[in-house]
Symmetry: C2
Subunit: 253 residues, 2 copies
DNA sequence: CAGTGGTCTAGACCACGGT
DNA sequence: CCGTGGTCTAGACCACTGA
Protein backbone atom coordinates (compact mmCIF):
# COMPACT_ATOMS: atom_id res chain seq x y z
CA UNK A 1 0.00 0.00 0.00
CA UNK A 2 2.86 2.34 0.74
CA UNK A 3 3.65 3.44 -2.77
CA UNK A 4 1.36 5.66 -4.76
CA UNK A 5 1.13 4.03 -8.17
CA UNK A 6 -2.02 4.65 -10.09
CA UNK A 7 -1.44 2.11 -12.78
CA UNK A 8 1.64 0.24 -11.67
CA UNK A 9 2.08 -1.16 -15.17
CA UNK A 10 5.70 -0.67 -16.16
CA UNK A 11 5.25 -0.60 -19.91
CA UNK A 12 7.90 -2.69 -21.64
CA UNK A 13 10.64 -0.59 -23.18
CA UNK A 14 10.17 -2.00 -26.66
CA UNK A 15 6.47 -1.21 -26.52
CA UNK A 16 7.11 2.37 -25.58
CA UNK A 17 9.84 2.54 -28.20
CA UNK A 18 7.44 1.31 -30.81
CA UNK A 19 5.00 4.06 -29.95
CA UNK A 20 7.67 6.72 -30.12
CA UNK A 21 9.01 5.44 -33.42
CA UNK A 22 5.52 5.14 -34.81
CA UNK A 23 4.81 8.77 -34.06
CA UNK A 24 8.14 9.79 -35.52
CA UNK A 25 7.28 7.90 -38.69
CA UNK A 26 4.03 9.79 -38.99
CA UNK A 27 5.50 13.19 -38.47
CA UNK A 28 9.13 13.17 -39.51
CA UNK A 29 9.63 10.63 -42.27
CA UNK A 30 8.43 10.25 -45.81
CA UNK A 31 7.63 6.94 -47.48
CA UNK A 32 10.77 5.32 -48.76
CA UNK A 33 13.06 7.30 -46.53
CA UNK A 34 15.91 5.41 -44.88
CA UNK A 35 16.08 5.33 -41.09
CA UNK A 36 19.34 5.52 -39.17
CA UNK A 37 20.85 2.08 -38.73
CA UNK A 38 19.96 -0.13 -35.79
CA UNK A 39 23.14 0.46 -33.81
CA UNK A 40 22.68 4.19 -34.00
CA UNK A 41 18.98 4.10 -33.20
CA UNK A 42 19.65 1.88 -30.20
CA UNK A 43 22.31 4.25 -28.94
CA UNK A 44 20.07 7.24 -29.52
CA UNK A 45 17.28 5.71 -27.44
CA UNK A 46 19.65 4.30 -24.86
CA UNK A 47 18.64 0.67 -25.26
CA UNK A 48 20.32 -2.52 -26.38
CA UNK A 49 20.11 -3.34 -30.04
CA UNK A 50 17.99 -6.41 -29.31
CA UNK A 51 15.38 -4.23 -27.64
CA UNK A 52 15.36 -1.77 -30.48
CA UNK A 53 14.98 -4.66 -32.89
CA UNK A 54 11.94 -5.92 -31.01
CA UNK A 55 10.23 -2.60 -31.69
CA UNK A 56 11.30 -2.58 -35.33
CA UNK A 57 10.02 -6.11 -35.80
CA UNK A 58 6.57 -5.13 -34.64
CA UNK A 59 6.49 -2.09 -36.88
CA UNK A 60 7.55 -4.25 -39.80
CA UNK A 61 4.81 -6.74 -38.93
CA UNK A 62 2.32 -3.91 -39.08
CA UNK A 63 3.56 -2.90 -42.48
CA UNK A 64 5.05 0.40 -41.32
CA UNK A 65 8.68 -0.47 -42.01
CA UNK A 66 10.62 -2.53 -44.47
CA UNK A 67 14.01 -3.94 -43.56
CA UNK A 68 16.50 -5.40 -45.97
CA UNK A 69 19.79 -6.93 -44.99
CA UNK A 70 22.76 -5.10 -46.37
CA UNK A 71 20.59 -2.13 -47.27
CA UNK A 72 18.81 -0.66 -44.31
CA UNK A 73 15.41 0.11 -42.83
CA UNK A 74 13.00 2.16 -44.88
CA UNK A 75 9.55 3.59 -44.31
CA UNK A 76 7.05 1.32 -46.05
CA UNK A 77 4.30 2.58 -48.31
CA UNK A 78 0.71 1.82 -47.27
CA UNK A 79 -0.27 -1.78 -47.83
CA UNK A 80 -1.58 -2.62 -51.25
CA UNK A 81 -5.11 -3.93 -51.45
CA UNK A 82 -5.16 -7.28 -53.22
CA UNK A 83 -8.50 -8.58 -54.41
CA UNK A 84 -9.00 -12.15 -53.32
CA UNK A 85 -12.66 -13.03 -53.56
CA UNK A 86 -14.93 -11.34 -56.03
CA UNK A 87 -18.64 -11.77 -56.21
CA UNK A 88 -18.81 -13.34 -59.61
CA UNK A 89 -17.17 -16.68 -59.16
CA UNK A 90 -14.06 -16.96 -61.27
CA UNK A 91 -11.32 -19.44 -61.73
CA UNK A 92 -8.07 -18.24 -60.31
CA UNK A 93 -6.42 -15.73 -62.55
CA UNK A 94 -9.05 -16.00 -65.23
CA UNK A 95 -9.55 -12.38 -66.20
CA UNK A 96 -6.33 -10.64 -67.10
CA UNK A 97 -5.14 -11.04 -63.56
CA UNK A 98 -1.56 -10.55 -62.58
CA UNK A 99 -0.89 -14.19 -61.91
CA UNK A 100 2.16 -15.55 -63.67
CA UNK A 101 2.35 -19.31 -64.20
CA UNK A 102 5.77 -20.62 -63.29
CA UNK A 103 5.68 -24.37 -63.50
CA UNK A 104 3.56 -27.48 -63.48
CA UNK A 105 4.70 -30.89 -62.37
CA UNK A 106 2.97 -34.11 -61.40
CA UNK A 107 3.08 -34.57 -57.64
CA UNK A 108 1.48 -36.49 -54.81
CA UNK A 109 -0.24 -33.86 -52.64
CA UNK A 110 -0.15 -33.81 -48.83
CA UNK A 111 -2.70 -36.13 -47.27
CA UNK A 112 -5.00 -33.33 -46.18
CA UNK A 113 -5.04 -31.90 -49.69
CA UNK A 114 -5.74 -35.31 -51.17
CA UNK A 115 -8.67 -35.70 -48.79
CA UNK A 116 -10.10 -32.33 -49.79
CA UNK A 117 -9.75 -33.25 -53.44
CA UNK A 118 -11.21 -36.67 -52.80
CA UNK A 119 -8.32 -38.36 -54.54
CA UNK A 120 -6.43 -41.35 -53.24
CA UNK A 121 -3.61 -40.39 -50.92
CA UNK A 122 -0.97 -41.72 -53.24
CA UNK A 123 -2.51 -40.38 -56.42
CA UNK A 124 -0.58 -37.86 -58.44
CA UNK A 125 -2.20 -34.57 -59.39
CA UNK A 126 -1.07 -31.60 -61.42
CA UNK A 127 0.78 -29.19 -59.19
CA UNK A 128 0.80 -25.76 -60.78
CA UNK A 129 2.87 -23.04 -59.17
CA UNK A 130 2.28 -19.40 -59.89
CA UNK A 131 3.36 -16.00 -58.68
CA UNK A 132 1.12 -13.02 -58.29
CA UNK A 133 2.61 -9.67 -59.17
CA UNK A 134 1.29 -6.24 -58.23
CA UNK A 135 3.02 -3.02 -59.19
CA UNK A 136 5.97 -5.08 -60.30
CA UNK A 137 6.39 -6.65 -56.88
CA UNK A 138 5.67 -10.28 -56.07
CA UNK A 139 2.90 -10.39 -53.48
CA UNK A 140 1.91 -14.04 -53.44
CA UNK A 141 3.12 -17.50 -54.32
CA UNK A 142 0.50 -20.13 -55.05
CA UNK A 143 0.37 -23.89 -55.27
CA UNK A 144 -2.64 -25.07 -57.25
CA UNK A 145 -3.54 -28.75 -56.99
CA UNK A 146 -5.56 -30.01 -59.94
CA UNK A 147 -6.69 -33.63 -60.00
CA UNK A 148 -6.17 -35.40 -63.32
CA UNK A 149 -9.91 -35.89 -63.50
CA UNK A 150 -10.55 -32.17 -63.67
CA UNK A 151 -8.55 -31.78 -66.88
CA UNK A 152 -9.08 -35.07 -68.70
CA UNK A 153 -8.47 -33.62 -72.15
CA UNK A 154 -5.02 -32.39 -71.25
CA UNK A 155 -2.89 -33.30 -74.21
CA UNK A 156 0.10 -35.47 -73.64
CA UNK A 157 1.85 -33.66 -76.43
CA UNK A 158 2.55 -30.70 -74.21
CA UNK A 159 5.75 -30.66 -72.24
CA UNK A 160 5.46 -32.67 -68.99
CA UNK A 161 6.46 -29.62 -66.99
CA UNK A 162 7.38 -25.98 -67.28
CA UNK A 163 5.39 -22.80 -67.78
CA UNK A 164 3.87 -24.05 -71.05
CA UNK A 165 2.52 -27.03 -69.20
CA UNK A 166 1.17 -24.77 -66.45
CA UNK A 167 -0.70 -22.69 -69.01
CA UNK A 168 -2.13 -25.81 -70.60
CA UNK A 169 -3.45 -27.12 -67.27
CA UNK A 170 -5.07 -23.77 -66.48
CA UNK A 171 -6.58 -23.52 -69.96
CA UNK A 172 -8.21 -26.89 -69.55
CA UNK A 173 -9.38 -26.04 -66.05
CA UNK A 174 -11.15 -22.90 -67.26
CA UNK A 175 -13.37 -25.03 -69.50
CA UNK A 176 -15.19 -26.32 -66.45
CA UNK A 177 -18.22 -24.45 -65.19
CA UNK A 178 -17.39 -23.19 -61.74
CA UNK A 179 -20.18 -23.91 -59.26
CA UNK A 180 -18.76 -22.26 -56.20
CA UNK A 181 -15.76 -21.72 -54.07
CA UNK A 182 -14.73 -21.82 -50.50
CA UNK A 183 -12.01 -19.87 -48.83
CA UNK A 184 -10.03 -19.69 -45.61
CA UNK A 185 -7.38 -17.25 -44.43
CA UNK A 186 -4.86 -17.84 -41.70
CA UNK A 187 -1.48 -16.67 -40.54
CA UNK A 188 1.59 -18.69 -41.41
CA UNK A 189 5.27 -18.33 -41.94
CA UNK A 190 6.90 -18.56 -45.32
CA UNK A 191 8.53 -21.82 -46.30
CA UNK A 192 11.98 -21.51 -47.82
CA UNK A 193 10.78 -21.68 -51.44
CA UNK A 194 7.89 -19.30 -50.92
CA UNK A 195 10.19 -16.89 -49.15
CA UNK A 196 12.48 -16.87 -52.16
CA UNK A 197 9.61 -16.23 -54.54
CA UNK A 198 8.35 -13.41 -52.32
CA UNK A 199 11.78 -11.90 -51.86
CA UNK A 200 11.65 -12.37 -48.12
CA UNK A 201 13.56 -14.40 -45.55
CA UNK A 202 12.28 -17.83 -44.59
CA UNK A 203 9.83 -17.62 -41.73
CA UNK A 204 8.48 -14.25 -42.79
CA UNK A 205 4.84 -13.81 -41.82
CA UNK A 206 2.41 -14.63 -44.59
CA UNK A 207 -1.34 -14.80 -45.01
CA UNK A 208 -2.24 -18.24 -46.26
CA UNK A 209 -5.35 -18.27 -48.42
CA UNK A 210 -6.76 -21.72 -49.08
CA UNK A 211 -9.40 -21.92 -51.78
CA UNK A 212 -11.47 -24.88 -52.90
CA UNK A 213 -13.02 -24.68 -56.35
CA UNK A 214 -16.19 -26.68 -56.94
CA UNK A 215 -17.30 -27.85 -60.35
CA UNK A 216 -19.37 -30.74 -61.59
CA UNK A 217 -20.38 -31.65 -58.08
CA UNK A 218 -16.93 -32.12 -56.65
CA UNK A 219 -13.77 -30.27 -55.69
CA UNK A 220 -12.15 -29.55 -59.00
CA UNK A 221 -9.06 -27.81 -57.71
CA UNK A 222 -7.49 -26.55 -54.53
CA UNK A 223 -5.27 -23.51 -54.20
CA UNK A 224 -2.90 -22.65 -51.38
CA UNK A 225 -1.68 -19.10 -51.84
CA UNK A 226 0.73 -17.38 -49.47
CA UNK A 227 0.59 -13.59 -49.47
CA UNK A 228 3.22 -11.31 -47.97
CA UNK A 229 1.61 -10.22 -44.72
CA UNK A 230 3.75 -7.12 -44.42
CA UNK A 231 2.76 -5.55 -47.71
CA UNK A 232 -0.71 -6.93 -48.46
CA UNK A 233 -4.24 -6.17 -47.40
CA UNK A 234 -6.56 -8.85 -48.74
CA UNK A 235 -9.84 -7.48 -50.00
CA UNK A 236 -13.10 -9.34 -50.48
CA UNK A 237 -16.43 -8.34 -51.85
CA UNK A 238 -17.85 -5.48 -53.84
CA UNK A 239 -15.41 -2.66 -53.37
CA UNK A 240 -11.77 -2.32 -52.62
CA UNK A 241 -11.96 -2.38 -48.86
CA UNK A 242 -11.19 0.41 -46.48
CA UNK A 243 -7.75 1.51 -45.56
CA UNK A 244 -7.58 1.96 -41.85
CA UNK A 245 -4.54 3.96 -41.00
CA UNK A 246 -2.56 4.03 -37.85
CA UNK A 247 -1.98 7.68 -37.34
CA UNK A 248 -2.06 11.17 -38.76
CA UNK A 249 -0.32 10.05 -41.94
CA UNK A 250 1.68 13.18 -42.33
CA UNK A 251 4.52 13.30 -44.77
CA UNK A 252 7.84 15.02 -44.42
CA UNK A 253 8.00 18.21 -46.39
CA UNK B 1 35.30 -21.43 -57.69
CA UNK B 2 37.76 -23.12 -55.37
CA UNK B 3 35.39 -24.49 -52.78
CA UNK B 4 32.99 -27.29 -53.50
CA UNK B 5 29.76 -26.29 -51.80
CA UNK B 6 26.61 -27.45 -53.42
CA UNK B 7 24.26 -25.32 -51.41
CA UNK B 8 26.44 -23.32 -49.07
CA UNK B 9 23.38 -22.25 -47.11
CA UNK B 10 24.16 -22.59 -43.41
CA UNK B 11 20.61 -22.93 -42.13
CA UNK B 12 20.01 -20.73 -39.09
CA UNK B 13 19.96 -22.69 -35.86
CA UNK B 14 16.51 -21.49 -34.86
CA UNK B 15 15.13 -22.57 -38.21
CA UNK B 16 16.53 -26.04 -37.86
CA UNK B 17 15.35 -26.13 -34.27
CA UNK B 18 11.86 -25.22 -35.38
CA UNK B 19 11.84 -28.12 -37.82
CA UNK B 20 13.04 -30.56 -35.20
CA UNK B 21 10.51 -29.34 -32.65
CA UNK B 22 7.77 -29.39 -35.23
CA UNK B 23 8.43 -33.02 -36.00
CA UNK B 24 8.59 -33.84 -32.32
CA UNK B 25 5.21 -32.18 -31.84
CA UNK B 26 3.72 -34.34 -34.57
CA UNK B 27 5.11 -37.59 -33.28
CA UNK B 28 5.67 -37.32 -29.57
CA UNK B 29 3.21 -34.92 -28.06
CA UNK B 30 -0.54 -34.80 -27.65
CA UNK B 31 -2.65 -31.67 -27.82
CA UNK B 32 -2.61 -29.85 -24.52
CA UNK B 33 0.54 -31.54 -23.30
CA UNK B 34 3.08 -29.33 -21.52
CA UNK B 35 6.55 -29.05 -22.99
CA UNK B 36 9.67 -28.86 -20.86
CA UNK B 37 10.42 -25.29 -19.86
CA UNK B 38 12.53 -23.03 -22.03
CA UNK B 39 15.70 -23.27 -19.98
CA UNK B 40 15.63 -27.02 -20.10
CA UNK B 41 14.80 -27.19 -23.80
CA UNK B 42 17.61 -24.77 -24.59
CA UNK B 43 20.07 -26.86 -22.60
CA UNK B 44 18.83 -30.05 -24.21
CA UNK B 45 19.41 -28.64 -27.70
CA UNK B 46 22.64 -26.92 -26.74
CA UNK B 47 21.55 -23.41 -27.68
CA UNK B 48 21.01 -20.16 -25.84
CA UNK B 49 17.57 -19.56 -24.51
CA UNK B 50 17.04 -16.63 -26.87
CA UNK B 51 17.63 -18.91 -29.84
CA UNK B 52 15.25 -21.51 -28.52
CA UNK B 53 12.69 -18.80 -27.98
CA UNK B 54 13.00 -17.69 -31.59
CA UNK B 55 11.95 -21.15 -32.68
CA UNK B 56 9.09 -21.28 -30.17
CA UNK B 57 7.86 -17.88 -31.29
CA UNK B 58 7.52 -19.09 -34.87
CA UNK B 59 5.72 -22.22 -33.83
CA UNK B 60 3.35 -20.15 -31.73
CA UNK B 61 2.78 -17.84 -34.70
CA UNK B 62 1.83 -20.87 -36.75
CA UNK B 63 -0.64 -21.96 -34.12
CA UNK B 64 1.29 -25.05 -33.09
CA UNK B 65 2.13 -23.93 -29.57
CA UNK B 66 0.56 -21.86 -26.87
CA UNK B 67 2.69 -20.12 -24.27
CA UNK B 68 1.46 -18.57 -21.09
CA UNK B 69 3.59 -16.72 -18.61
CA UNK B 70 3.67 -18.34 -15.22
CA UNK B 71 2.26 -21.55 -16.65
CA UNK B 72 4.30 -23.01 -19.47
CA UNK B 73 4.27 -23.98 -23.12
CA UNK B 74 1.57 -26.34 -24.32
CA UNK B 75 0.76 -28.01 -27.60
CA UNK B 76 -2.05 -26.04 -29.24
CA UNK B 77 -5.15 -27.65 -30.71
CA UNK B 78 -5.77 -27.14 -34.44
CA UNK B 79 -6.99 -23.68 -35.30
CA UNK B 80 -10.71 -23.12 -35.08
CA UNK B 81 -12.46 -22.12 -38.28
CA UNK B 82 -14.36 -18.89 -37.74
CA UNK B 83 -16.95 -17.92 -40.34
CA UNK B 84 -16.46 -14.34 -41.41
CA UNK B 85 -18.23 -13.78 -44.69
CA UNK B 86 -21.28 -15.77 -45.60
CA UNK B 87 -22.98 -15.67 -48.95
CA UNK B 88 -26.26 -14.28 -47.78
CA UNK B 89 -25.47 -10.78 -46.64
CA UNK B 90 -26.12 -10.36 -42.95
CA UNK B 91 -25.62 -7.69 -40.39
CA UNK B 92 -22.88 -8.57 -37.98
CA UNK B 93 -24.03 -11.04 -35.42
CA UNK B 94 -27.56 -11.15 -36.70
CA UNK B 95 -28.34 -14.84 -36.59
CA UNK B 96 -27.67 -16.37 -33.22
CA UNK B 97 -24.02 -15.69 -33.61
CA UNK B 98 -21.63 -15.82 -30.73
CA UNK B 99 -21.02 -12.10 -30.59
CA UNK B 100 -21.46 -10.60 -27.15
CA UNK B 101 -22.16 -6.86 -26.95
CA UNK B 102 -20.02 -5.24 -24.29
CA UNK B 103 -20.53 -1.53 -24.48
CA UNK B 104 -21.64 1.40 -26.57
CA UNK B 105 -20.42 4.94 -26.17
CA UNK B 106 -20.52 8.05 -28.31
CA UNK B 107 -17.10 8.71 -29.83
CA UNK B 108 -15.35 10.65 -32.57
CA UNK B 109 -13.92 8.00 -34.89
CA UNK B 110 -10.42 8.14 -36.41
CA UNK B 111 -10.26 10.34 -39.49
CA UNK B 112 -10.01 7.41 -41.91
CA UNK B 113 -13.10 5.81 -40.39
CA UNK B 114 -14.99 9.09 -40.57
CA UNK B 115 -14.09 9.36 -44.25
CA UNK B 116 -15.32 5.85 -44.95
CA UNK B 117 -18.56 6.60 -43.13
CA UNK B 118 -18.85 9.93 -44.91
CA UNK B 119 -19.37 11.74 -41.65
CA UNK B 120 -17.61 14.92 -40.63
CA UNK B 121 -14.27 14.30 -39.02
CA UNK B 122 -15.37 15.72 -35.71
CA UNK B 123 -18.80 14.12 -35.70
CA UNK B 124 -19.61 11.65 -32.97
CA UNK B 125 -20.89 8.20 -33.87
CA UNK B 126 -22.03 5.23 -31.84
CA UNK B 127 -19.04 3.08 -30.98
CA UNK B 128 -20.21 -0.40 -30.12
CA UNK B 129 -17.67 -2.87 -28.78
CA UNK B 130 -18.29 -6.57 -28.83
CA UNK B 131 -16.46 -9.80 -28.18
CA UNK B 132 -16.79 -12.94 -30.22
CA UNK B 133 -16.71 -16.20 -28.32
CA UNK B 134 -16.12 -19.66 -29.72
CA UNK B 135 -16.00 -22.78 -27.59
CA UNK B 136 -15.96 -20.53 -24.54
CA UNK B 137 -12.81 -18.76 -25.70
CA UNK B 138 -12.66 -15.17 -26.88
CA UNK B 139 -11.48 -15.15 -30.49
CA UNK B 140 -12.17 -11.61 -31.59
CA UNK B 141 -12.74 -8.09 -30.31
CA UNK B 142 -14.71 -5.73 -32.50
CA UNK B 143 -15.26 -2.02 -32.72
CA UNK B 144 -18.39 -1.17 -34.68
CA UNK B 145 -18.82 2.43 -35.79
CA UNK B 146 -22.44 3.37 -36.44
CA UNK B 147 -23.26 6.89 -37.62
CA UNK B 148 -26.18 8.52 -35.84
CA UNK B 149 -27.93 8.72 -39.20
CA UNK B 150 -28.07 4.95 -39.50
CA UNK B 151 -30.08 4.55 -36.32
CA UNK B 152 -32.23 7.70 -36.19
CA UNK B 153 -34.97 6.11 -34.13
CA UNK B 154 -32.62 5.21 -31.32
CA UNK B 155 -34.50 6.13 -28.21
CA UNK B 156 -32.90 8.57 -25.85
CA UNK B 157 -34.57 6.76 -23.00
CA UNK B 158 -32.02 3.97 -23.15
CA UNK B 159 -28.91 4.32 -21.07
CA UNK B 160 -26.25 6.44 -22.82
CA UNK B 161 -23.77 3.59 -22.58
CA UNK B 162 -23.36 0.00 -21.43
CA UNK B 163 -24.40 -3.34 -22.86
CA UNK B 164 -28.08 -2.39 -22.92
CA UNK B 165 -27.21 0.58 -25.08
CA UNK B 166 -25.12 -1.65 -27.34
CA UNK B 167 -28.04 -4.00 -27.85
CA UNK B 168 -30.32 -1.08 -28.62
CA UNK B 169 -27.97 0.27 -31.29
CA UNK B 170 -27.66 -3.13 -32.92
CA UNK B 171 -31.40 -3.68 -32.81
CA UNK B 172 -32.00 -0.42 -34.64
CA UNK B 173 -29.24 -1.19 -37.12
CA UNK B 174 -30.82 -4.50 -38.06
CA UNK B 175 -33.96 -2.69 -39.24
CA UNK B 176 -32.05 -1.38 -42.25
CA UNK B 177 -32.02 -3.41 -45.42
CA UNK B 178 -28.45 -4.44 -46.07
CA UNK B 179 -27.43 -3.79 -49.67
CA UNK B 180 -23.94 -5.18 -49.59
CA UNK B 181 -20.71 -5.37 -47.75
CA UNK B 182 -17.07 -5.01 -48.33
CA UNK B 183 -14.27 -6.68 -46.45
CA UNK B 184 -10.52 -6.54 -46.01
CA UNK B 185 -8.14 -8.69 -43.98
CA UNK B 186 -4.67 -7.75 -42.89
CA UNK B 187 -2.12 -8.58 -40.25
CA UNK B 188 -1.80 -6.36 -37.23
CA UNK B 189 -0.71 -6.44 -33.63
CA UNK B 190 -3.10 -6.25 -30.74
CA UNK B 191 -3.57 -2.93 -29.02
CA UNK B 192 -3.47 -3.04 -25.25
CA UNK B 193 -7.26 -3.15 -24.81
CA UNK B 194 -7.81 -5.73 -27.53
CA UNK B 195 -5.06 -7.84 -26.06
CA UNK B 196 -6.81 -7.84 -22.73
CA UNK B 197 -10.11 -8.85 -24.29
CA UNK B 198 -8.40 -11.63 -26.21
CA UNK B 199 -6.43 -12.86 -23.22
CA UNK B 200 -3.12 -12.19 -24.95
CA UNK B 201 -0.18 -9.88 -24.40
CA UNK B 202 -0.14 -6.50 -26.15
CA UNK B 203 1.43 -6.76 -29.57
CA UNK B 204 0.20 -10.28 -30.15
CA UNK B 205 -0.41 -10.97 -33.85
CA UNK B 206 -4.00 -10.50 -34.91
CA UNK B 207 -5.95 -10.67 -38.13
CA UNK B 208 -7.74 -7.38 -38.59
CA UNK B 209 -11.00 -7.71 -40.51
CA UNK B 210 -12.46 -4.43 -41.68
CA UNK B 211 -16.03 -4.57 -42.95
CA UNK B 212 -18.12 -1.85 -44.51
CA UNK B 213 -21.88 -2.34 -44.45
CA UNK B 214 -23.88 -0.63 -47.16
CA UNK B 215 -27.53 0.30 -46.80
CA UNK B 216 -29.74 2.96 -48.30
CA UNK B 217 -27.07 3.97 -50.73
CA UNK B 218 -24.36 4.76 -48.23
CA UNK B 219 -22.03 3.22 -45.69
CA UNK B 220 -24.30 2.45 -42.79
CA UNK B 221 -21.69 1.02 -40.44
CA UNK B 222 -18.06 0.05 -40.29
CA UNK B 223 -16.61 -2.77 -38.27
CA UNK B 224 -13.00 -3.32 -37.27
CA UNK B 225 -12.62 -6.78 -35.78
CA UNK B 226 -9.34 -8.16 -34.51
CA UNK B 227 -9.08 -11.94 -34.44
CA UNK B 228 -6.43 -13.91 -32.57
CA UNK B 229 -4.10 -14.95 -35.34
CA UNK B 230 -2.66 -17.85 -33.38
CA UNK B 231 -5.92 -19.68 -32.81
CA UNK B 232 -8.15 -18.62 -35.69
CA UNK B 233 -8.64 -19.60 -39.29
CA UNK B 234 -11.04 -17.19 -40.97
CA UNK B 235 -13.43 -18.89 -43.35
CA UNK B 236 -15.37 -17.33 -46.18
CA UNK B 237 -17.92 -18.66 -48.59
CA UNK B 238 -20.09 -21.72 -48.89
CA UNK B 239 -18.42 -24.30 -46.74
CA UNK B 240 -16.22 -24.30 -43.74
CA UNK B 241 -12.90 -24.10 -45.49
CA UNK B 242 -10.21 -26.68 -45.66
CA UNK B 243 -7.85 -27.46 -42.88
CA UNK B 244 -4.38 -27.68 -44.30
CA UNK B 245 -2.19 -29.36 -41.78
CA UNK B 246 1.50 -29.06 -41.30
CA UNK B 247 2.49 -32.62 -40.85
CA UNK B 248 1.46 -36.17 -40.14
CA UNK B 249 -0.76 -35.06 -37.27
CA UNK B 250 -0.02 -38.03 -35.11
CA UNK B 251 -1.03 -38.05 -31.51
CA UNK B 252 0.83 -39.44 -28.57
CA UNK B 253 -0.66 -42.67 -27.35
C1' DC C 1 35.33 -3.41 -49.21
C1' DA C 2 32.53 -1.04 -45.65
C1' DG C 3 28.05 -0.94 -43.75
C1' DT C 4 23.69 -3.02 -43.16
C1' DG C 5 20.46 -6.16 -40.93
C1' DG C 6 20.31 -11.29 -39.20
C1' DT C 7 21.85 -14.67 -35.84
C1' DC C 8 23.63 -16.10 -31.47
C1' DT C 9 25.42 -16.10 -26.74
C1' DA C 10 25.31 -16.08 -21.55
C1' DG C 11 23.95 -14.02 -18.53
C1' DA C 12 20.26 -10.87 -15.42
C1' DC C 13 15.96 -9.37 -13.62
C1' DC C 14 10.84 -8.94 -13.86
C1' DA C 15 5.71 -10.19 -13.98
C1' DC C 16 2.65 -13.54 -13.55
C1' DG C 17 0.22 -18.09 -12.14
C1' DG C 18 -0.43 -21.41 -9.17
C1' DT C 19 0.57 -23.79 -4.66
C1' DC D 1 6.74 -18.93 -2.44
C1' DC D 2 8.64 -21.15 -6.58
C1' DG D 3 8.63 -21.95 -11.45
C1' DT D 4 7.12 -20.18 -15.68
C1' DG D 5 7.59 -17.27 -19.74
C1' DG D 6 8.66 -12.08 -20.85
C1' DT D 7 12.06 -8.43 -21.06
C1' DC D 8 16.65 -6.65 -21.39
C1' DT D 9 21.71 -6.24 -21.81
C1' DA D 10 26.37 -5.98 -24.09
C1' DG D 11 28.69 -8.00 -26.49
C1' DA D 12 30.23 -11.27 -30.97
C1' DC D 13 30.14 -13.01 -35.54
C1' DC D 14 27.79 -13.91 -40.05
C1' DA D 15 25.43 -12.95 -44.67
C1' DC D 16 24.16 -9.88 -47.73
C1' DT D 17 24.19 -5.38 -50.59
C1' DG D 18 26.13 -1.95 -53.13
C1' DA D 19 29.88 1.11 -54.17
Amino acid sequence: MGTTQLESVPEPKYWHLKTVLSEALDSEFAVGEILPNERELAARFGVARATLRQALEQLELEGRLQRRRGVGTTVAPPRVGVAVGTEQRTWPGASGDDWQPRDSVPAVPPATVADALETARDEEVHLVSRTRMTHGQPVAAELLYVPRGSVPALSGIDAPSGTARARAVLRELYRLRLDGEDRAVELGSARADDAKALDRLPGAPVLVVTTRFFAEGRTAALSVATYRADTCRLTFGDGGGVEIHHGPERQAS
